[in-house]
């Protein structure tokens, strides 16, 4: 051993002192990613808000001081108004989203699996797609009044289109060779749908779901601001009437949290459901 170390020390030292001479080019790409880089911009904005409010550059009537907003949020939570509004809005969004996803998926399956279904369903939906859902609100109010059904259905109408479009596209892009394989294996139609069609359309469906979540929140905001007697939107509208920017900001933060949470949930589902693809990417 000792003799070996004696022998080895020479090359080791040579390695430590080894020169590193190589040509280098100026880097043109963006370079190494920064840790928590996504949060830096948000932190800078918050800091600007704090500094602006503290120095008086920001008029409290334009935008309330951050500490007042925190205080207001505390008060709203204490008297239960925030939770109540959040639950009301959450249920609305969830019902509309659920209904829209269900309808969109079923229509996509019917249209994707049978030519007759496609002839009846695809055309009307393409027409519906070109009408912004929010433009239908006046008609929906006449038909359904201004109660909860109108709100849920407006959200569902905004949701089912992206679900339908992407799921249908996912179905149609399943390769014909898999259908051929299923035929040679003698599987039933039910098994074919369960093992080939649904998993094959899953990536399209999940993409549609991410768009759908965004659409549902947009529709939620609109129906709540237009005419509501409860919910985050109602809270914001009321605060707007009384010039309470602190409550408006709290409401906006809650909307943002709703959106971020929903997107995170969809991404989680995506990771679980598409694990066969994720391993490919990693």
């Amino acid at each position: 051993m000792t003799t070996l170390t004696g022998n080895l020390s020479a090359p080791t030292r040579a390695l430590a002192e080894a020169e590193d001479v190589r040509p280098t080019r100026r880097r043109l790409g963006p370079g190494e990613p920064i840790r928590f880089g996504g949060l830096i911009g948000i932190a800078a904005l918050l800091l600007a808000w704090v500094v602006g409010s503290a120095t008086g550059v920001l008029d409290p009537r334009t935008l309330t001081e951050p500490w007042t907003v925190v205080q207001t949020a505390g008060t709203l939570i204490e008297n239960g108004r925030l939770q109540e509004s959040l639950v009301t809005s959450g249920i609305r969004a969830a019902l509309g989203l659920g209904l829209g996803v269900l309808v969109g998926t079923v229509l996509a399956l019917v249209s994707g699996l049978s030519r007759i279904g496609e002839s009846f369903i695809d055309g009307p939906i393409q027409v519906k797609r070109s009408i912004p859902t929010l433009a239908l609100i006046p008609l929906l109010i006449l038909w359904l009044g201004i109660g909860e059904p109108m709100k849920v259905i407006t959200i569902a109408l905004a949701v089912f289109v992206p679900i339908y479009i992407h799921t249908h596209n996912g179905l149609r892009t399943i390769e014909g060779r898999y259908a051929e394989l299923a035929e040679t294996l003698g599987v039933t139609r039910g098994e074919f749908v369960r093992h080939v069609v649904l998993p094959g359309a899953m990536p399209g469906f999940l993409l549609g779901l991410r768009f759908a979540v965004t659409s549902s929140l947009l529709a939620l905001v609109v129906v709540e601001v237009i005419n509501a007697t409860s919910g985050i939107g109602h809270m914001i509208t009321l605060a707007s009437n009384y010039g309470q920017t602190d409550i408006i900001v709290v409401g906006l933060v809650v909307y943002a949290l709703l959106g971020v949470t929903a997107d995170a949930v969809v991404r989680l589902i995506e990771r679980k459901a598409l694990s066969w693809r994720r391993t490919l990417a990693s």
Binding site: R177, Y178, E180, L181, A182, E183, T184, L185, G186, V187, E191, H195, V196, P199, G200, M202, W276, R277, T279, L280
Partner: protein
Amino acid sequence: MASYAGELSTEVAPAVRVRSLHRSFNEAGGVLNGLDLDIAPGEFVALLGRSGSGKSTLLRSLAGLDRGVAGTGVIEVPEKVSVVFQDSRLLPWKRVLDNVTLGLRAGDAADRGRQALAEVGLAGREKAWPHELSGGEQQRASLARSLVRDPELLLADEPFGALDALTRIRMHTLLRKLCEVHQPAVLLVTHDVDEAIVLADRVIVLDGGVVRHDARVELDGRRSQADPAFARLRARLLTELGVEDDHDAPGRHLDRAVERAAS
């Protein structure tokens, strides 16, 4: 050759019986033009032919996959037919074992699937995703998927066409072994004359939509390319396929020159 086919049909009822099969994709002309073919139970038939000779059309018609293609004729195939495609055609969203047992309605499907995977040398890879397997392993899995159904007829459409040469040799050995155990009748479509001779009991050359050449491979034991009988059969099949094999024995150029002078 005709006498050979007749002799066979008197011995046992064939597994596959095809009579005057016509198939055409357009008005211009048929791809199959009155093809007759018998395959005995347990017989390994290799189907050679140039591109467009109708090999794949025949295989697809036997597999029942030529819906909508115009044609006439009689096809009798066994009840249990399995198809091995050129691509392994594993569903990317199912793990290997689930791919193998897809559509299998036996109570012990998973056990049989595991056994089939072990047979093709994929024991322990049951939980892998298809893309985690190499090309050769994927094709092994697709062989397992076919064999787990105990087919009486195995239809293989250039199953090793996309594999590298070394993997291909390994797959030949595996396929021969599996066929000895399971004894299905096999119809193997291939471009590769050597592959056909190494694997098959009988080699058929298709041309113009009919059987042009039907040769029994009479080579005993290990089929070696060094065997002169192998080389003779190879040369004959290549001639039937209309290919001149230039990189062979040096004397052949001379022969051909003489032939050309004579003609």
